[in-house]
């Protein structure tokens, strides 16, 4: 039998499994919500009307700022702010809100890049056909842009999985916290953290492979 099987009791394995699922749930919900918010932000930023200008500027500033704050600082900020406002949020919710905040910022930039990757001629042609802005997006731009948007989104999904490790700092029982608990129980730390690293790898490697695969498959068609 391997030394790992000797070291980990069934309780430990259960703890690791729970941590694994919590990490995955944090990253998945955060990424999906962030994607939805970011996509809407990118659509709003693609408008050209002057009355939308303040909103566009605010969304641009948001995307600029939240990609430049370390995740740990965002996490602590949301954590202390929720405490100061006496909002009775669980640490899981705090971590989730933080992930959504940064995911929306990163993914809105990706979605914006995707929309802008569609050639200008396409926008102009749609306009010449008397499409409204939303019709242009719906029938011309988005069907072409999603090829550019989807592959890097997987890259960021993997990034968010790795970032959730920091949620252990505010006490969310995810994979890294499970490792800390096992380490404090007196199990060999190298073994514990080695196992944790492998579990993170198991989670993110298939996703990054899928992202690379999609990149190769979707990149072939150029937008002109």
């Amino acid at each position: 039998m391997s030394p790992a099987a000797h070291a980990f009791s069934s309780y430990d394995v259960l703890l690791l499994l729970k941590g694994f699922l919590t990490t995955f749930a944090l990253a998945l919900i955060g990424c999906l919500t962030g994607f939805a918010l970011g996509f809407v932000a990118a659509l709003l930023r693609s408008t050209r009307s002057p009355e939308m200008a303040p909103l566009r500027a605010a969304l641009a500033a948001y995307a600029l700022a939240f990609r430049r704050i370390p995740f740990l600082v965002t996490l602590m900020l949301v954590f202390f702010a929720s405490q100061a406002m006496n909002a009775n949020l669980s640490t899981f919710t705090v971590a989730l809100v933080s992930i959504c905040l940064i995911a929306a910022a990163y993914l809105s930039e990706i979605a914006r890049g995707g929309l802008e990757s569609v050639h200008r001629n396409q926008w102009q042609a749609a306009r010449a056909l008397n499409f409204s802005h939303w019709q242009t997006l719906r029938y011309v731009v988005v069907p072409q842009a999603w090829r550019v948007i989807v592959p890097p989104t997987f890259g960021f999904f993997v990034m968010f999985i790795k970032d959730t490790a920091l949620a252990s700092q505010i006490g969310v029982m995810e994979l890294t916290s499970a490792g800390k608990v096992l380490g404090n129980k007196g199990l060999p730390e190298a073994l514990v953290y080695g196992t944790i690293l492998m579990l993170y790898f198991l989670l993110s490697y298939p996703l990054s492979r899928l992202g690379k695969h999609l990149e190769h498959r979707l990149a072939a068609a150029g937008n002109r």
Binding site: L77, A165, S168, G194
Partner: protein, 222 residues
């Protein structure tokens, strides 16, 4: 709830010192990571297949696991085999280990972007090997690599904030201290957020200016 920034902002020399330490960690890890990345990229390009496989495994592993847990492993795991690292060293090693993999990827694709015909025409024109590297490969590679490299540097600067978890008193660590002392954690972390935005904006701006003028990289000014 009223926000009081006074007691935090009063301590600006302390915070600037922390920011300086953050930048130092980022620059050191970036420089070491560049060397490791260059070595790994050369192995991927020219090395024997067994070495290539090892380097490939390193890059895949390091880019698919969290830097925080990598540092945990170094900091808590290594003492069991008799290697005790100071928090600063552990953080620096973890950041370098992580950066090496990403910088290897960037440099590999940078070198791959040099067209074979360009090297051949340089050879036909009688350039020596060193001249080809100096006048053909290097300018071309820098032009392609500079934007992702500067992006990676910004990501690493943000990543240094996790050093605070191990007790290194860089910007986040000092913000944490101030927040605990003054009971103004919200204000402290707001200040931290603004400082990080300012530092990375300044860094991006300087790197963009340098990249556009010296490396002729295509970069937008923000």
């Amino acid at each position: 709830m009223t926000l009081q920034f006074g007691p935090i902002l009063e301590q600006w020399p302390y915070l600037l010192g922390g920011a300086w330490l953050s930048l130092q960690i980022a620059v050191l890890a970036f420089a070491c990571g560049m060397l490791i990345g260059l070595l790994c990229a050369s192995i991927l390009q020219y090395g024997p297949s067994s070495m290539r496989r090892i380097v490939g495994a390193y890059v895949t592993f390091a880019t698919n696991t969290p830097q925080l847990v990598q540092i945990f492993f170094l900091f808590y795991g290594l003492p069991e085999v008799g290697v005790t690292l100071s928090p600063f060293t552990a953080v620096l090693m973890g950041a370098t280990f992580n950066a090496g993999a990403y910088l290897c990827e960037i440099q590999r694709s940078g070198f791959a972007s040099v067209k074979h015909a360009e090297l051949e025409s340089a050879a036909v024109l009688g350039f020596s090997r060193m001249q080809i590297i100096r006048h053909v490969t290097f300018p071309h590679v820098m032009k392609v690599m500079f934007p992702p490299l500067s992006n990676q540097f910004i990501v690493m600067t943000l990543g240094t904030s996790m050093a605070s978890i191990f007790g290194v008193e860089e910007l986040t660590g000092r913000i944490d201290n101030l927040g605990a002392e003054t009971y103004l954690s919200v204000e402290a972390f707001l200040v931290a957020a603004v400082l990080y935005i300012a530092i990375t904006l300044l860094a991006t701006w300087l790197l963009t200016l340098y990249g556009r003028s010296v490396c002729r990289a295509r970069m937008d000014i923000l």
